[in-house]
Symmetry: C2
Subunit: 461 residues, 2 copies
Amino acid sequence: MPTPSLTKNILEKLTTIVGPAGIETNKEELLCYSYDGTGQEFLPEAVLFPENTKQVAGIMKIAHAHTIPVVPRGAGSGMTGGSLPLKGGLVLALAKMNRILEVDPENQIAVVEPGVITGNLRKRVAQDGLSYPPDPASVAFCTMGGNVAECAGGPSAVKYGVTRDYVLGLEVVLSDGRILATGVRTNKGVVGYDLTRLFTGSEGTLAIITKIIVRLIAHPTATRTTMLLFGDLQEATSLVAKLLLSHTPAKLEYLDGTALNIVAGKLPTPLPKGTRAMLIIELDGDPESVAIQAEKLDLFLARQPAIQQQVNATDAKQAKRLWFARKQVSPSAFKLKPDKISEDVVVPKTKIPDLVQKTEKLARDLNLLIFTFGHAGDGNIHVNIMVDKSDHKEYARAKQAKESLFKAVLELGGTLSGEHGVGTTKAEHIGLELSETSIAVMKELKNVFDPLNILNPGKIF
Amino acid sequence: MPTPSLTKNILEKLTTIVGPAGIETNKEELLCYSYDGTGQEFLPEAVLFPENTKQVAGIMKIAHAHTIPVVPRGAGSGMTGGSLPLKGGLVLALAKMNRILEVDPENQIAVVEPGVITGNLRKRVAQDGLSYPPDPASVAFCTMGGNVAECAGGPSAVKYGVTRDYVLGLEVVLSDGRILATGVRTNKGVVGYDLTRLFTGSEGTLAIITKIIVRLIAHPTATRTTMLLFGDLQEATSLVAKLLLSHTPAKLEYLDGTALNIVAGKLPTPLPKGTRAMLIIELDGDPESVAIQAEKLDLFLARQPAIQQQVNATDAKQAKRLWFARKQVSPSAFKLKPDKISEDVVVPKTKIPDLVQKTEKLARDLNLLIFTFGHAGDGNIHVNIMVDKSDHKEYARAKQAKESLFKAVLELGGTLSGEHGVGTTKAEHIGLELSETSIAVMKELKNVFDPLNILNPGKIF
């Protein structure tokens, strides 16, 4: 437990800024802001609920003056500990800064506050025939601020890219309380260094995001969703790179046998016996374009003997049910074991079968339950090592498996994280991927923005 | 003229690294490395031709030890002075580092050295059915290193994005000679701060780029290119945002009457009298998709009374001729006047007509020849103020026009540069767009990477 840093005097100053309703120090309430998607828990000393940028700036000035840790928090749905107050101090809960400030349909941009739920932005812009493509599995409750801080991805990244590809500009509050606007409101802009993308994915360690300008695209008016069933995981994953050579699906996901079993009851159709893997392919565009893409894809798929069965969603409802099941894989995994080590490694597309083979070997060799699923189209594979942390021997083997997995990923030309970030869970491993020079440079950048190390301390490094 | 910094001893050390054939100090030769697309001239003290990263690192160690300015140079085709040795010192001509190191068609990436000509990379990957989309007008001679340093764009950015959107990873040499690898070889990757995109667009001021990993996409197999002729520039530019609401062209360019006149002889068809503006629209995809897009677009265009004539390119040769003419606008402009102030401002798409009106007013009010053309689809407009620098009064009016233009662009919600960068030509104006805090932060970043200010000094700030 870190040394408490909040005196009565500091709490009074903070209350002056956010008002009595904007600060919480009651332990039961603090508990609600102590956890995230990793299952870790760290108690803050106080939670603040700022309503605008000015209040955030005021808070940072006080935190800066007294060297108090500040951890920005959206929905707490992160997978690597990004929103956890590791060193105590203040949690900045941004839920009240949840306004969609502007949607400009003609120029195809939106301006939002960080607490806006990503799914709400997507619904809002859909009213104007527009789409904000990034779609993490937590889209129904995660927030735009968190998405930018972690550079969130999702199934649609294979065609549309990740959060970074949609952020045009930001407003942030620096660690000393200065307010900084970055970027532009247009698709192009190269005046000065690219601070926008430096902050994107910086996991709350460089600045507090208080406003986000995103670009939007035309909403696809049609989709076709297909499930492909396989008796063999290797054969399923071997198809991915081959398929992507001549097709551009909007989503291309896979689930292994265990992942399928976890959500079997939620799938739109029962699975035949012997199903050991599924690919989900979604095409999108306008109806004519989807029809052409589907025809071309079906011709290709008909020539692949490894496919046991192709099931096309019959309507939007069925497709929705399928994607719901896909989103439930991660939360439903706790059926298997009480704890989960969840990684989001990436390998070149042609190397997915090798990675899958490696995880199967690790599971056998170390007597662990490991299953995989994820964004096959990007080579971004969610590897889940299911454990019972109270079984210390099993947990030790699981940590060994994680280390071996990371090494294998890097040998295959991949990276340790595609969309979850480093946070606390990968911090000790970044030296496997990043050189000493790289880490040294990153620490110098951290020092420019946060010389007192008060912004989300203990993350990444 | 800056104080010479190269002693005989330093020159000998440099010669040891690059060999006698890798260094040039002869004044006639130095002149070839003293200019760029802006028409400015600054003589270096020596030009070095390193052949590999190790040599670049060796050069930087010497430059660092003796505080010698180093300016990396590709083809010298930049439009804002990025490759000019403003403070003398060394020009690092990267022409010998021009190998395409790797093309991986299955994983759709390429790895290149900075001296690779962008057009050559495009040709090479086309052999594998792949495309590297960024296509600056100088594509036939500009280099990948320069493109990354400036974050180059081009007509295809409206659909495919700019250089930043294709750079996955870099190898750079830091100002003290350390070698640093950034980024990944996969489409996703979020481990640590985004150094890749921080270096992209940093105009050679933070590091020397020695290797570039880019992502590739499937090469479109069909295109349709259309010219729309208008009697009125306002009407032409008013159509842009409207068209983009329901169509996704691969390119959407415009030329005003003066730009058209400059290249009239090079166009594939003669222009009818009274043509005052042209939109060029290119659709791409596979043949079926292009046919559908064309049908939809033609229906839309048929309902636009402002269009005087629609001419579709009859074959690839005619389309090529049209794009060649488009690329010739900038170099051919010197027919009009000996000097050109060339800006690449960006405004929201709906504001292009306002910007055009503003430039016309400036031309009238200040008695100047100003013409505009450019990437209408992005709102990225090339504004060209044609002058005779020896006419000091005219040149003073031109500079006044440039300042007024910049202010108007920012009032319209735009930015001073979409793809050319700041360099020397916009350095004094960045305070119009960037706040004091923003500039202060950027200078601190510069100081992290280049505390001695030896990397491309005098640019941006």
